[in-house]
Subunit: 411 residues, 2 copies
């Protein structure tokens, strides 16, 4: 039934396109304290220079650098302290003339006449006299106007996931609210006659639903989504179709199904897809994760993931997340990666992208990736016992032992 598998990159492109064609993602303004993890919806421009004037980077003494030439512990230069300048003070409060200095606090403006700041440990203090123990180059410990950023500079691009430094940067220029994309509404439907929820009574032959839980938890970590879990459905295409349409009516941007995608078993989702408005792709050259499919129903994207937790995870991780990044031009949403030395050979079936779970071992700075045994998309503990994954491109027969591979880290 999965005859025309698409490649991983085709699947990402097709899904990104389908998302952009079906979802009008409005924006909303939120307070800065609620913005962490949200997607910035427009380029944010610095309204002013920062700092607004030349400022001291440290607690210390503002000097004329020329006064300190040749200063050392054995031959200190003596300067007279004119007073103290604090953040919020004016550079005109004091004027540093030959033989004088001004005490400055971090963030204070540089007093007129001075061009460098010596740190406390580079001077000795005796009453109003400062002994300078080193020469200061012009500009030492001075932050020039606009050095942090300039008025007009882009502080955060559209698509940037708001992180603590961005939040603080926006605060520092007085912005209290920020326009972000509204959360993407994802409904999860779980398909399978054989499933019961954890906590329920498990009759003979039934299994606990675990795939929904990994998917929900993954979506939950990515704070760009709002998630609704709509429950377990039987292996019945009519029921599944109705449930999808109900989620769409309820406002879902995307419906994600798990299970019912058998290559050989009851292909419930395939039957629904056959009656859909358009099949986007049906199966991906991805292992595990081959049944990952996509179609349009009720004018919305339905992403169908495997019923097996590891294969649903690859569909989420390798296809879905990357298509979201592509659709919205996200920055800062990609998984972090490291390079590691592969501890064992891993083979690949040419024509498929393989997702290999690996454990990272750091042996005094030599980082090794130990592949998890290559089987069992139902073996959940494989994810619990590993730290990341490598992707073997479809054109390769595998990676040799000792080759350096890129490992994407689980969040």
């Amino acid at each position: 039934m999965l005859k025309h598998l698409v490649s991983v990159s085709e699947a990402i492109d097709l899904l990104a396109k389908a998302l952009s064609e079906t979802i009008a993602l409005d924006t909303e303004e939120v307070g800065l304290l609620e913005a962490t993890g949200r997607i910035i919806a427009h380029d944010i421009i610095a309204p002013e220079d920062r700092p607004l004037e030349d400022s001291s980077a440290v607690d210390g003494y503002a000097v004329r650098s020329i006064d300190t030439t040749g200063a050392s512990h054995y031959n200190p230069v003596m300067l007279r302290n004119l007073g103290v300048l604090r953040p919020g003070g004016s550079s005109r409060e004091f004027c540093v003339e030959p033989g004088t200095t001004v005490r400055v606090h971090t963030g204070a403006p540089i007093p007129c006449g001075s061009d460098a700041v010596l740190m406390d440990e580079d001077v000795g203090v005796e009453g109003g006299i400062i002994y300078v123990y080193r020469a200061a180059a012009k500009g030492l410990n001075v932050i020039y106007r606009g050095e942090d950023f300039r008025a007009g500079e882009v502080l955060g691009e559209s698509g940037f996931i708001a992180n603590p430094p961005l939040i603080a940067t926006l605060a520092s220029v007085g912005l209290s609210r920020v326009r972000v994309y509204r959360r993407i509404k994802v409904s999860i439907l779980t398909i399978g006659d054989e499933l019961v929820e954890p906590g329920a009574v498990r009759a003979g032959g039934k299994s606990y639903n675990s795939t929904t839980y990994i998917l929900y938890s993954l979506l939950d970590r990515d704070s760009i989504f709002s998630i609704r879990y709509a429950g377990i459905l039987p292996d019945n295409p009519v029921v599944v179709r109705d449930a999808i349409l109900r989620e769409v009516s309820g406002g879902a941007d995307i419906v994600v199904t798990t299970g019912g995608t058998g290559v050989s078993e009851a292909d419930v989702v395939g039957d629904v897809a056959d009656q859909s408005e358009r099949i986007v792709f049906r199966g991906v050259k991805l292992r595990p994760g081959r049944p990952t499919s996509c179609f349009i129903l009720g004018g919305r994207v339905v992403l169908s993931l495997s019923g097996f937790p590891v294969a649903a995870w690859t569909g989420y991780e390798v296809i879905f997340r990357r298509s979201i990044t592509k659709w919205l031009g996200l920055k800062g949403f990609d998984r972090r990666y490291i390079y590691a030395v592969l501890a064992r050979r891993v083979p690949n079936t040419v024509g498929y992208t393989s997702v290999i779970r690996v454990s990272i071992r750091d042996v005094n700075g030599e980082v090794y990736a130990e592949p998890y045994m290559l089987r069992g998309s139902g073996v959940i503990s494989s994810l619990l016992k590993t730290n990341g994954y490598i992707l073997i491109p479809e054109e390769l027969e595998g990676f040799e032992k000792n080759s350096v591979v890129r490992v994407y880290l689980y969040e």
Copy 2:
């Protein structure tokens, strides 16, 4: 005033001890779908083996491995298909005898008599006859009972931060609820006559409060906290003390202050500390972040961070987070790190641990760390323009260019 600075490791130890002595962190039971990011409060034991019986890892054909000896594309072995076994079926439904096979789906039990499973691509199908194109070793594509995990095995240790694989693992054994530590209640107090909130009118000489915003956003990302921001206070020790005690009465486990910690300037927090029940430490050999201090007031820990955003960040990142890890024995809370080649020499003042912000450049798999210029704990964009940080231990004079350093990645 900061005369007896403690080392970074001493500060972490002292703070962890103070937290454990002052906070009784209760536990609560939450549903699995709410547990992501929470701290598991006791060792979770697998109640049963998984899988419960020997199972197929793939869609394919269960065989007696001995029947397939010598099979190849040129010399296939013919087997008769007895039927289909699905997940939830019984291994007794079929018995594989010499010359026969059973179609099995992923997760189905291994039918009696068989000891290996051939994948679809290793066989040809013609009606009820299966042509085997390769020899199957005993155990091929079989997941043995308990191979995922065994009854009695610890699935998640106390202190583990619940992540998607753990959530799914717990679901797979039927656990619907999990006992976690309640969220740690952190109140933030901001100190500074010179501060106004972003969005407010900024009179001459005033600055926008940004330090609270980076701290709030950092705490927000770590879902183990519940955060209350109590606003800006003037540089007045009496007011600050009252505000701290009010937060404690309101239920705060920890009060974090920012600002008012001047080494030379008005040391408001120092004055409060002097009147506190106990000073835990006063200043850390950390750069930036030297003013980071800790005392006990109202029976609770008060952690005092710098008013400068980058120095408050190092206090959070290098001291606070690590003390929480130590206090609760957290697993999975540490920042991820990579190794990189240092693109420039970075000096250190011996006796201090330096936090150096770096940008990571990946040049075709060679990873370089470019240090951000070493100044300006007020330069917020330094965090926006970098990806991680390195720590120079207090006993070193710095790291040489081209040395391999550990870079902790920002989340």
